[in-house]
Point group: C2
Chain length 118, copies 2
């Protein structure tokens, strides 16, 4: 089977943040967060045309936020979590306290999951 991997993981902070600064695009990411979806399936969730969604997908893909896999004529998309790294960096830079809060959240989550104590 064809395995077309895209090496384009070099998403700049600017491209990622601009891609995220649109409600439609954030919604697309939510849709493909846990499962692959074909472009048409994504488009069907919006009151926009298929072409408009195709363009949003293109923006997200160029920012590195979407992985693309071809299956026949369909193109399946899924979230590339790693691409959110610039956002994490930004948060770390501007809001050190957020790290502490997230650490707390992590520990709570771990406690919930496996009852682990730091």
């Amino acid at each position: 089977m064809p395995r077309s991997e895209q090496p384009a993981s070099a998403s700049t902070p600017d491209a990622v943040l601009k891609a995220l600064a649109d409600p439609h695009r954030r919604q697309i990411l939510r849709l493909v967060q846990h499962r692959e979806l074909a472009a048409g399936q994504i488009a069907a969730q919006f009151p926009l045309t298929q072409q408009a969604i195709s363009l949003h997908i293109s923006v997200l893909r160029k920012a590195g936020l979407l992985a693309e896999r071809r299956d026949g004529t369909r193109r399946l998309y899924s979230l590339r979590h790693e691409a959110l790294d610039p956002v994490r960096s930004l948060l770390a830079e501007f809001w050190p306290d957020a790290l502490a809060r997230l650490k707390t959240a992590v520990e709570r989550a771990h406690q919930t999951k496996e009852t682990r104590q730091p």
Copy 2:
């Protein structure tokens, strides 16, 4: 300490992300991250006109990212860290693993900061 929530912190995720999706504006936030700066002092750091920076400041302020304090004719600005909360939420939503990575980052940051390393 007063835990009063400011009503002006009703910044929407959209406004915050759009405000952050510009390199000039991110640079402004870096400048006022640790100390207050007057609008003119901020503008002096850029090859743009004072008016252009004033507009960027306005965008940041409306997104809740900047606190404004008046001192005579000057207006002093500083970063409102809380306004980054929507970014944290976004990260938490889209990237559960980020929590674990941030925990690691926190621990590294604390080590770096304290530098009481044998």
